[in-house]
């Protein structure tokens, strides 16, 4: 009983603190730091630090991880992020990130494409991808 109570507490705590994870294909060995991550998600670069093409996938507006992605990875509010990307997309400066509704689909995409980089809730992490943040 006590054990069950404790583990529920832990579960609650982990739910409240659920964080986002930035993931890439397991074969991706580029040195991907925070600056590289935000630059890719903001379309400032289209390549990983090792020069390989980088294709971003982000949680869409219906995905519960959207808020944490905007706040912790790119540091923008929803309107700021949308205004920022509108400027790039309608001027041909960058291809917008793929918008993902479902973390399971993101995992599948990242696990099968060495050029992709995505964002999911860390509770959905599994061994098919590599976490870089």
């Amino acid at each position: 009983m006590k054990l069950l109570f404790l583990s529920s507490l832990t579960l609650l705590a982990s739910l409240a603190q659920a964080d986002v994870a930035v993931i890439v294909h397991p074969s991706n060995n580029a040195a991907i730091d925070d600056a590289a991550i935000s630059s890719i998600f903001l379309g400032k670069v289209s390549a990983f630090p090792d020069g390989q093409k980088a294709l971003p996938a982000v949680p869409d507006i219906s995905n519960p991880s959207r808020g944490d992605f905007l706040d912790k990875i790119v540091g923008k509010t929803e309107p700021q992020y949308k205004s920022y990307w509108a400027r790039l997309v309608f001027t041909g400066q960058a291809q917008p990130p793929k918008e993902m509704q479902d973390d399971a689909k993101t995992l599948e995409l990242i696990a099968t494409n060495p050029n992709m980089i995505g964002v999911i809730d860390e509770s959905h992490l599994n061994g098919t991808v590599k976490r870089v943040k």
């Binding site: 600056a35 630059s39 289209s46 390989q52 929803e78 949308k82 509108a86 400027r87 041909g92």
Partner: protein, 356 residues
């Protein structure tokens, strides 16, 4: 002609490549406004399309829509087309962007086709009201008669730590028979305008809060007045140079925007334009104030064109993909006798901008 061929190619591409991954997106602005100063005052809110407000409420100057189709043929090749319709052109849509992008490497790409001329900071996304806080960028800085071109560009993107660095070089030309701004507004007769042998470069450095953009453009200008009995003086191969710099800061709450441009053509007096703007983001509301100025140097005491605009406004992000805006524009036209543009005016306008 080149444009028609490209548009045809684009359509053909979409038809022949059913496996191409095609995405559609768009933007729209619905705006209305009215001059509130003296009767008969006119506010020229957009020079290029001769969009004007007067004493009657009008929806045409700030109502715009754009639809973009982008097709990815494979990892390296994509085609894009954007049609834009404006109230100032009776909402008739025109293909303003139609280009092919080829990635030479993940950092280097080439675009060929029709694009916006990146003369000023807001040139490229001038139509996308959602991407900035005004209803439209200050008119004094955007007094351009040519705003698109046919040609090619090369873009290189890299990064130094937290700083993104983007370099563009481009070249091309634009023929604008019966140019709208010159024919309808400045000369009152058919004016054919050509900007050719254009060669330009843009360097953009952007950090977490600071963005700096430098640009240069040179080219040759031909102008011709074909109407019988015209007394205007045509010219050919007048060399022009444009230099521009923008420094913008966005801390998340405080926003400071600046832009400076200088242009010279042949022996004409140089034109300087600049703007300075401060905004403050408080949740969904962003109030802002701006001053912009257009001045032309005086040669041998001759009269020239001079005007400035003061803007006070607010942007309200009432929806994740839409913003409502309200703004007051006060124009002071200080041009010498015969050099006034649209005269003094005060205008209130409101708009809703969205993207989809």
């Amino acid at each position: 002609m080149a444009l028609r061929i490209l548009t045809g190619l684009l359509l053909l591409g979409f038809m022949l490549c059913p496996q191409a991954d095609v995405t559609f997106s768009g933007f729209a602005s619905v705006g209305a406004g009215k001059v509130i100063s003296k009767k008969d005052d006119v506010f020229l809110s957009d020079y290029a399309t001769v969009a004007q407000y007067d004493n009657d409420v009008s929806f045409s100057p700030d109502t715009t829509y754009g639809l973009q189709a982008m097709g990815r043929i494979d990892d390296k090749l994509s085609i894009a087309s954007q049609i834009v319709g404006r109230g100032a052109d009776e909402m008739n849509a025109g293909v303003e962007w139609a280009y092919i992008t080829y990635e030479l490497s993940p950092s280097l790409s080439m675009q060929v086709g029709r694009k916006r001329l990146p003369l000023y900071f807001y040139s490229d996304f001038y139509d996308v009201g959602y991407s900035y806080y005004w209803i439209r960028p200050p008119a004094d800085n955007y007094t351009w008669q040519i705003f698109n071109y046919n040609g090619a560009s090369l873009t290189y993107k890299t990064r130094m730590g937290d700083w993104g660095i983007k370099g563009d070089v481009y070249g091309g030309r634009e023929d604008s028979p019966n140019n709208k701004l010159l024919s309808e507004f400045f000369f009152g007769e058919t004016t054919n305008e050509t900007w050719k042998n254009m060669l330009g470069a843009v360097l953009t450095v952007s950090g977490e809060m600071l963005e700096v953009r430098l640009n240069y453009l040179q080219g040759l200008n031909d102008r011709d007045f074909p109407d019988a009995g015209s007394t205007s003086t045509p010219f050919e191969n007048y060399r022009f140079h444009n230099y521009g710099m923008s420094v913008n800061l966005d801390t998340g709450s405080l926003i400071v925007l600046t832009e400076y441009n200088m242009r010279r053509r042949h022996l004409d007096p140089a034109i300087t334009t600049w703007l300075a703007s401060v905004g403050y983001r408080m949740g969904e509301l962003t109030p802002h104030v701006t001053y912009s100025k257009f001045s032309q140097e005086k040669l041998a005491g001759a009269e020239t064109e001079n005007h400035n605009t003061t803007i006070v406004g607010v942007r309200y992000d009432f929806h994740p993909s839409a913003a409502a805006k309200l703004q007051w524009d006060k124009v002071q036209d200080e041009g010498g006798p015969g050099w006034g543009v649209a005269g003094d005016s005060e205008t209130i306008s409101a708009a809703i901008d969205m993207i989809f």
